[in-house]
């Protein structure tokens, strides 16, 4: 009974994330695009919650809520027609893109259906135990990866500020 409820929730949230993901590229309004992407990312976070990865689900929703709000502001700043009133076409090589996306998706779908995945796990640790085990993983086996992620964030921050700085001296 529980499994069927989980499957129904997976399908509903999956369809929501796909629908909003599709709407990102189907609307002329940049604000709607950003809000659609936000909704799609929240649906992905809810999918994580349904798959009992509570920490990651909450983290995804919080991070994406912030990121997409900032993205919406940038889009309004940089787009020539942020409200979409002019119905500008902002696409190119449309047929090629549709063909590439379809072919890649089809190949991956064939691989997924052809692979024998083995038995599914039915029992998983509770949220509290999951967080403890993830903490142990971060502080033991994956510590270097976690540290690398931290240094990468620092590097990204420095790179972003350096790139965005106005180069007044070289302008002339």
């Amino acid at each position: 009974m529980m499994i069927s409820v989980q499957l129904i929730l997976l399908i509903i949230l999956g369809l929501l994330s796909i629908w909003f993901g599709w709407r990102v590229f189907m609307t002329s309004s940049m604000v709607r695009s950003a809000l659609s992407l936000l909704a799609s990312m929240v649906a992905i976070g809810a999918l994580f919650l349904v798959m009992e990865a509570e920490f990651l689900g909450v983290l995804q929703i919080m991070m994406m809520g912030t990121e997409m709000s900032i993205m919406a502001i940038f889009m309004m700043m940089y787009m020539m027609d942020p409200g979409g009133l002019g119905e500008m076409d902002m696409t190119h090589q449309k047929n090629l893109s549709i063909a590439a996306a379809s072919i890649f998706s089809l190949i991956i779908a064939i691989v997924i259906l052809a692979v024998g995945w083995g038995p599914l796990a039915t029992e998983i640790p509770g949220p509290h135990e999951q967080n403890r085990l993830l903490g142990m993983e971060i502080l033991k086996r994956s510590m270097m990866i976690f540290e690398t992620a931290g240094i990468t964030i620092l590097t990204g921050m420095i790179a972003a500020i350096t790139v965005a700085l106005s180069i007044k001296n070289n302008r002339n």
Partner: protein
């Protein structure tokens, strides 16, 4: 098995939409949105593999955290490039970025 397959098929479709967006859009910010969707699809795959195949392997969750870091950094560096591009040419349309050649 249908739970795992459902999650993977959702991820495939999202990846396809993201790939379409990244290839077809002319605006830098919209291209970044396509990349975000593809990374989101990859994270669904990882969580599904963790939940339904290896719930004892917490390195998979660690990998999801790394993917989230990549998403945040892609946003930060991408917007920095957009800011600089907007400042120098007044537009973030990639069709007008032919001057970056050579």
């Amino acid at each position: 098995m249908e739970l795992l397959l459902t999650a993977l098929i959702i991820a495939i479709i999202l990846f396809g939409i993201g790939l379409y967006g990244a290839l077809s859009q002319t605006n830098l910010v919209m291209i970044m949105m396509g990349v975000e969707l593809m990374l989101g699809a990859a994270m669904i795959n990882l969580v599904a593999f963790w939940r339904y195949l290896h719930p004892e392997a917490f390195s998979i969750k660690m990998f999801v955290l790394v993917a989230m870091t990549v998403m945040a950094l892609e946003g930060a560096v991408g917007f920095a490039i957009a800011t600089q591009r907007f400042r120098s040419s007044g537009s973030v349309e990639m069709e007008e970025a032919a001057d970056l050649n050579g």
